[in-house]
Symmetry: D2
Subunit: 346 residues, 4 copies
């Protein structure tokens, strides 16, 4: 039995992590950390957990937690994990950080986009970027995993094979992404009120969203060179789901079968990546509640561009599900354990 | 391994049944019946099932099906099951009928409210009304189970203990119910288009909805006498969920603790019925995707009435989940097998 | 030109008032009061007003305001208007109070349900309850109008004729009401976040909602005696709209035509009340954006009850529209001026 | 008084046209044409019109209609208007065609993208593309106006000034557009059911949507050369609203002020085009129910691209509102008459 602790268990990603871990046969949650709700019953914060979780919320003392568990999940604001982690903690427990603290290798890039000082740059080298389909072997050996962002997971997996194989010109990449509102978190803000979001749609963080350098870094590794791209997130009136529509100029004269073969080369054996059949475009509802990424593409011979599309549930593959997948790899569990979730429709 | 066949596998209830049975460790689905989509891949109808279900849709030949499976689920329009079932089929396979054909014992009542002739009244006596929490022992022995309606499941379980124990005057019962739109089915009708339902709310079937006699019959058994009541369904702009708000005059001068004790008497040991803590009223989102019924009540000393509230996921406890629960009882499985679903929030 | 000032112009009701007054040919808004946004451009708070409203938000100094305008609208929290109003202000400007301060004649009832002390009970006698269809003549002469609540407007107008004419037994009245989320206001609360409201439904304020005594008082006048009733509000995932479903036992043996004639007696000449055709039940979408109340009923001969249904846009007839209607009456304008709004569908 | 006839009055665009024309002081609707609902009361099809419109639906006989009205609006499927129009009709009544029949000058392009034969190519030369802000003077003199598509209106107005002034390289244009579901029409299709659209998002018509050549033709005029671009529409779970996010490489080294000045040059005097303040990005809710187009942009110095964003209400500026604006121009009315609609929020 893997003993798990969660810091930030009452955010939406934290809540989803609880839901998934409760369905994992070899995990026991020992610590529901929530600075905002200390001493309150967890099921009073998330009433869906009534009679399922009897625990009370605890604080975010990572040192105490490391003594009691095998794995610590931090579903916390940027800066928290970096400010707490140290060698002693890492010697006792593995950490899966759902924040951005260890996703970006270059501390200056991190500090520029996040506008905070990084408190533990010494662990940046060790931290593994936990996109399982790409870094599976490194994740298995990691003590500290940086769980990728929601937009980035969807964007990277959608474009990765075509960048890696040189099918597209990476300097032409434009990613237009759309997200359900749970991605904005559970903070009480006017902008996220029902009446402000419902029957509405907008772009935000245009040319400045923090997931941009993360996507650039990872796709840069695939391209074998640094790259810059456009990434524009949009807020959509739905709870869950991210859809990424990516555009790039073709670097070669390719047809459907060639591109399909490239995607298959990377994903055919991947349980959680489904390259759809021709002309079936991803829909967020088809992956809701599950760890799947649905991907497809369309070549436009008129403009010599390719349109790549990917869909995930932002709270599962974009956060908690991927965290569990990483945990499974780190602890030698079956990679899919706890994640055999059939998407819920409608 | 229980071999299961579904007739009507491409409606919303049928699709949910597939989702749940795929998570049941002792069931194998052998037959995806769908008159509308014969020979089409099931995953082409429900793309969430891509790479999960490889089967093709078959017809609705119940006789052929009975030779191949242990249990037949009929998620079909009213009249279908009654027109097909016969002794030979029942001798080979158990049937769980998600339609209304065998829910109402009095054939005249059925024919009056449903406006069709009943083709197999000879099985009405044998059929067991599959509300597990109330008829558990009979379900275990049944060959033919009438799976309750969605509104009725929610309404009956919400009121049952107080009717049974004479806390309320059953002749004063008024049930005001609200349902998500999946209850209206997957038929292509203008009334169910997104733009007609979204940002809208209405009552329908006022004083004439077919679930009325079903609720009356079952609560009549509890009351020990015939009763008539008001039941008004409403359509709500959400996919899933039923909320029933029931009103009745108190037959006795009771306080919170007395009423709570009555609910606990019936439900304390029931896994799927959660009587909430004082002043926590049910919310449909807290049970979404799960087999739970959340219930609570409030006494109004000013009017000497009690307000009872219940919430379910109409596709789970209101249809497919309850069908699986019935199947588990009929086949000696753990009652909760395949139903340990944590509600998804948000 | 009527000069108008609004205190509380940045709440949802205040914003709707601005929208409606901008379309009124004889009104000029001179004061956009908003304690939260003083000195901020109004159009920066409500960007739909960009290039339409150039004004900046002012404070809530009612004395200063009274010197500059003919009418003051207070779309403010309970207690504000009562704490500010005085004889001098009323001698200079008429007041239409959208809060509850002057709706309830009995100060003890007000203080019991609202749990605050009433600061100006001396004006309770003078204040007119501004339900135009019922108190039209008094409104015309009023200096101080208590604009009715959203739930109450819908509930009272739906039941009024049948109570007044003794068709129903008022002691059996049960009102089950459903509201869009704009009724909860623009405050930043977790409960009103998109992800908490969307795909969800719940009752709240059960047997304790503050609109209860207001409905009881007004229907009590119609009945000619005091009455208590049950009123249960529910939160629905839509922006606008209230649907009230009311139940009562018939006091007489009546048929459809008789009841229809009673409704027509009161509403046939009312522009804003539409009694629908037989078996057409109100839908909130059919009145969205307009000042209409859509009403219908269904007799249930089985239970000898009648089900009455009414729908309004909570921000228009339930708040700002009714306030404008009151203003028109108070200032001798055409009652419908500024309110000839065709409902928007879809 | 302008006498108006509508063919296709019961589609969503037709219904919106009725709503707007009812608010126009110099228009009288004489003909509510609807092949599907002949002889049915219009208000029985759109119950929001109860007691507002008393007319009954008529057929689509354009010749008979031309004898009775001054202007004919055709809100009909592609091919209808082209199959009916002739010189005699045009000599009696002006036509504003909301379908695509006369939008594209090159008949081969039309037939290739729409896959139907054009029945009246002889009128293509005469027809004026009714994007008022760009073709105002020609519209004033036109007998036959091709009312632009919803996506195209939003896309063209968003990009036009920068293409026209050579600020961007038009060959790099990529338009990622998102639309509410009313754009899909009122046909009874499974894909447009509430449960299929709600909590879901998808791209469709990728690299093949029919609005593509229309955008290309119009922006080609602005660029002074033929161009091809990528246009990808997406379906969003909301009733109304289109958001277009457009990407292009800068052709010059420009800063914010330069680009703002270019937009202002074209739109400063345009009532219905609002170029927002710096860093305020368009939201569909801010224009809902109105004829506004909200536009803004962001320069990304990292990628040397510019992101242009535009929002409209697809049924107003994207259809019925623009049709009324065209009518006003054609009949010498004030251009804004009937269109002084304040956006409704929330």
């Amino acid at each position: 039995m893997i003993k798990a602790g969660i810091i930030g268990a009452t955010g939406y990603a934290g809540g989803e992590l609880v839901r998934l871990l409760l369905g994992h046969k070899n995990v026991e949650i020992k610590w529901y950390g929530s600075r905002s709700y200390i001493d309150k019953k967890y099921a009073d914060v998330y009433q869906n957990m009534f009679q399922i979780v009897e625990d009370t919320c605890l604080d975010d003392n990572m040192e105490a937690l490391a003594d009691q568990v095998d794995v610590i999940f931090t579903a916390t604001p940027q800066g928290f994990c970096a400010s707490m982690v140290n060698e002693e903690i890492l010697s006792k427990a593995k950490i899966i950080d759902l924040s951005a603290d260890f996703r970006i290798k270059d501390v200056k890039t991190y500090e520029k986009w996040y506008k905070i000082q990084h408190k533990s740059p010494q662990f940046l080298g060790e931290a593994v970027y936990g996109l399982c389909e790409i870094n599976r072997e490194q994740v298995k050996k990691a003590r500290l995993v940086a769980n990728p962002g929601c937009y980035t997971t969807c964007s990277i997996l959608t474009c990765y094979p075509l960048v890696k194989e040189g099918i597209i010109d990476p300097d032409t990449l434009i990613i237009d992404a759309k997200s359900g509102t749970s991605g904005a978190g559970r903070g009480a803000k006017i902008d996220n009120l029902f009446c402000e979001v419902n029957e509405n749609m907008k772009a935000y963080g245009v040319a400045s969203h923090r997931h941009t350098p993360e996507i650039e870094e990872q796709l840069g590794y695939a391209a074998g060179k640094e790259l810059v791209l456009n990434f524009t997130p949009h807020l959509v009136p739905m709870n869950r789901g991210i859809l990424a529509t990516a555009y790039a100029s073709l670097a070669k004269d390719v047809d459907y079968d060639t591109v399909k073969a490239v995607y298959d080369k990377y994903y055919e054996k991947e349980k959680f990546v489904r390259v759809l059949e021709k002309d079936q475009y991803p829909q967020t509802k088809w992956v809701e509640g599950s760890n799947y990424v649905d991907i497809n593409f369309k070549i436009d011979p008129r403009t010599k561009r390719i349109i790549m599309m990917g869909a995930i549930d932002n709270l599962v593959k974009g956060a908690a599900g991927q965290a569990v997948q990483n945990m499974n790899l780190m602890f030698g569990e079956e990679e899919t354990e706890g994640l055999n979730l059939v998407p819920m429709f409608p």
